[in-house]
Symmetry: C2
Subunit: 200 residues, 2 copies
C-alpha cells in the first residue's frame, strides 16, 4: 500500500509538472514579432525561408521591401509565382538610397510603411515581412515610434518579421524574438563577387 | 600642359585603383561553401530563403535533410511543388534521433551523406543544402573529415550550404562564409509554443 501511494504521488507530481509545461507552451496563439538583425548574412534570406514555410501551410503573406526595390532578385522572381497567397510591395521607383533628396526618400519610406501598416492591421495576413525596415529607421527615414505604433495596431493573428542591421533597441525590447546574424567569414572580403542565386 | 599631364596621371591612378577593385570582385565564378551555425533561429530558414532565390533564377537545387525527416513542415510542403528544379531527400524513415540504436542511426546518416556526395559531385546542381548536417557531426554520426572530402570532391559550380548548431572548426576553416545566428530573445523561453508557418 505504501508503495502504491508513493507511486501514485510520484505520478501525480510528474503529471502536475507536465501540465505546467504544457500550459507554459500553450499561451494564446497569437502572431509573433521577430527581428533579424546583425552584420552577418541571412537576415532577409531567413525571412524568405519563413515565407516559404508559411506558403507551404497555405497561409497568406505580405512583403514590403524598404530597399533593393530596383534589383532583380531571385526571391522576387520566385515569389511572384504565388500572387494568390503573396502580396509583394517594393518601395517607390525613385527610392534608391543614393538620392540626395532626403525629403523625397522620407516620403517614399513613409508611403511604404503606410502600406505595411494597412497589411498588418487588415487581419488578412498570417505573416508580414518588412524587409530592411531597420535600415530605414537607422537613417531616420522612419521613427521607431511610428513602427512600434504600427506593430501594436496589428491584427492579433499576424506575425511580423522585421529585417536589417542595427535594429533599434526599443524595437528589440518589443519583439518576441531577436536573432542576430553574426558575420564570421564573408566571401566578399575574400575577393569573391556576389553570386546569383546565393546572394540575391 | 603640366595640368593636363597631372590630370592624366590622376585619372590613370584612379583607373588602376578601379581595375584592382574590379579584379578583386571578379575572382573565378565558383560555387561557395556556406555554413549557418549558432544557437539562434534562422539557420535552416535562411537556407530555405536561398533555395527560393536559386529557384527564382531557374537554378537546380538539391536538399538533404539530416534531421526532422518525419516532420510535416511548411518548407517541405512548399518546395515539393517544384520537382523539376528541386530534389529533396530526407534521411531514412527510422531515423529520429530518439532511437537508442546508434549503429542504425550512423548507417542512416552515412546513407544520407552518400546521397549528398553524389549530388555535390554530379555537376547537376547549382546549390546543395545539407540541412542539420552539423548535428550529425556533433553526435559523431558523420566525421568532419568525411564531410570535407565530400565538399572537396564537389563540382566547381555547385554551392553548398551546411546548417546546424555547433559547426566543427575544421568545416568553418574550409568554408567561404560562416554565419552565426545568435539567439537574443526567443519566444519559447517566453512560454510561447512553436508556430506553424513561422517555426516549421
Amino acid at each position: 500500500m505504501t508503495d502504491d501511494t508513493s507511486h501514485t504521488e510520484k505520478m501525480k507530481a510528474l503529471q502536475e509538472e507536465q501540465r505546467k509545461k504544457t500550459d507554459a507552451a500553450s499561451v494564446p496563439d497569437r502572431g509573433l514579432v521577430l527581428v533579424h538583425t546583425g552584420n552577418g548574412k541571412g537576415k532577409s534570406s531567413s525571412a524568405f525561408g519563413v515565407i516559404a514555410r508559411a506558403l507551404g501551410w497555405g497561409q497568406k503573406v505580405g512583403v514590403v521591401q524598404f530597399i533593393k526595390g530596383k534589383w532583380i532578385t531571385g526571391e522576387r522572381q520566385f515569389f511572384s509565382k504565388f500572387p494568390d497567397q503573396l502580396d509583394w510591395h517594393t518601395m517607390g521607383e525613385g527610392f534608391t538610397w543614393d538620392t540626395q533628396d532626403k525629403a523625397r526618400d522620407i516620403a517614399a519610406a513613409e508611403a511604404a510603411f503606410a502600406r505595411a501598416k494597412d497589411m498588418m492591421a487588415s487581419g488578412k495576413y498570417d505573416l508580414v515581412v518588412l524587409d530592411e525596415i531597420n535600415i530605414a529607421m537607422r537613417y531616420d527615414y522612419l521613427t521607431v515610434d511610428a513602427v512600434l505604433d504600427g506593430l501594436k495596431a496589428r491584427s492579433g493573428q499576424t506575425s511580423v518579421i522585421l529585417t536589417g542591421r542595427d535594429a533599434k533597441p526599443a524595437l528589440c525590447d518589443y519583439a518576441d524574438l531577436v536573432s542576430e546574424m553574426v558575420e564570421i567569414k564573408h566571401p566578399f572580403k575574400a575577393g569573391l563577387k556576389a553570386k546569383r542565386g546565393v546572394d540575391f
